[in-house]
């Protein structure tokens, strides 16, 4: 059973409130008028690379290495994406080929 309209809007309000708190808090804590602490500027330059690494792992969190196909489609497609990107440095090409390769692998090869 789904919630009634009023309750649904209540859930939505909580999701919006929680999300916006996480989005606006850093900008409220460190407004433009105040000088950003040195440590915070250090973190703001180093965090993106670390987060990108985390996001890659996040995308792969559902992959089971223990059972067939042992994450092979992901491994192959990521290697192809990364290799192609290091070689040609063309973002769309790397992602396009990587994605199509992955689709072929999961739909036709590792079934």
């Amino acid at each position: 059973m789904r919630l009634d309209t009023f309750q649904t809007l209540g859930i939505l309000a909580c999701v919006v409130a929680g999300t916006m708190l996480t989005r606006f808090l850093p900008f409220l804590l460190f407004p433009e008028s105040k000088k950003t602490p040195k440590l915070v500027s250090y973190l703001s330059t180093t965090i993106p690379a670390a987060m990108m690494g985390l996001l890659v792992v996040y995308c792969l969190k559902g992959v089971s290495v223990a059972s067939w196909p042992h994450g092979l489609p992901e491994l192959i497609a990521i290697a192809a994406t990364a290799g192609l990107h290091l070689w040609r440095k063309n973002v769309l090409l790397s992602i396009g080929v990587g994605t199509v390769l992955y689709m072929v692998l999961v739909q036709l090869v590792f079934v």
Binding site: M1, R2, L3, T8, G10, I11, L12, A13, C14, V15, V16, A17, G18, T19, M20, T22, R23, F24, L25, P26, F27, F30, E32, V40, S41, Y42, L43, S44, T45, T46, I47, P48, A49, A50, M51, M52, G53, L54, L55, V56, V57, C59, K61, P73, E74, A77, I78, T81, A82, H85, V91, L92, S94, I95, G98, T99, Y102, M103, V106, Q107
Partner: protein
């Protein structure tokens, strides 16, 4: 160049950068619309959730709270946990979004994984105001999500193409942007810390609850090693590797 022209140019040049997000969001958005429909929430509900919260993964989680018992406090806490990574994004974009004036509210409101990934890594083309460019990327990604989730609610049932694996576009996007981030020594070290911490946290805490511990580890390692990391060159290495 007038303000309006610069913005138009920004929208033209930003579009190609967002195509991977378009593919990824299309798949995930349609899936979200479908999921909502299956729980008795039509396309306008999907649209409303997307338009106001715009937080893909949390929107999926929120669906589980739309059936059964009404649990507003739990959903609020869950949202804070799942979206805590936005705090990192905000910290990272403090400088880049500085001075964006009337756009600033929207840049913050529209921050998501993919928009952050692009805006924190992209080299803004010459002749375009960086704030216009960031705004254009944010708006594109937002529209992709809204249109896709609405479509998912409407025509999802008639969709017969086998899209299995198409959502790999987002994984590939993060892989490519990760490589792009490695151009400076400092970022390379930070990137390795990110992968290492995330992999470690995934092993220890499991797939459903590793993000927060991973972020704590990243933060601690970056803080503890701030001296050696800061001494690394933040400028691009000559070869750009």
């Amino acid at each position: 160049m007038t303000e309006k022209k610069s913005l138009g140019r920004a929208f033209r040049l930003a579009f190609p950068k967002t195509i991977p997000v378009l593919t990824g969001f299309f798949v995930l958005g349609v899936a979200y619309g479908l999921l909502m429909s299956s729980h008795g929430y039509g396309p306008f509900w999907s649209l409303l959730f997307g338009a106001t919260a715009f937080c893909g993964s949390m929107q999926f989680v929120a669906v589980t709270f739309l059936t059964g018992i009404f649990q507003p406090f739990q959903v609020f806490l869950m949202t804070l946990m799942v979206n805590a990574r936005h705090l990192f994004y905000g910290l990272s974009m403090l400088q880049k979004y500085k001075g964006s004036g009337k756009f600033k509210f929207f840049l913050i409101f529209l921050m998501c994984d993919e928009t952050f990934a692009i805006n924190s890594s992209v080299e803004v083309p010459e002749g375009v105001d960086s704030k216009d460019f960031y705004f254009a990327v944010s708006v594109y990604d937002y529209c992709y999500w809204l249109i896709s989730s609405f479509l998912g609610g409407v025509i999802g049932n008639f969709f017969t193409i086998n899209t299995t694996g198409l959502d790999f576009a987002l994984t590939a996007l993060f892989v490519v942007l990760f490589i792009e981030q490695l151009k400076t020594r400092r970022n390379a070290v930070s990137g390795v810390i990110g992968i290492g911490a995330a992999a470690l946290a995934l092993l220890v805490f499991g797939a459903d609850s590793f993000v927060i511990p991973a972020m704590v580890v990243i933060l601690l390692v970056l803080l503890v090693c701030s001296r050696p990391i800061e001494s690394l060159d933040a400028a691009k290495t000559e070869k750009g590797n």
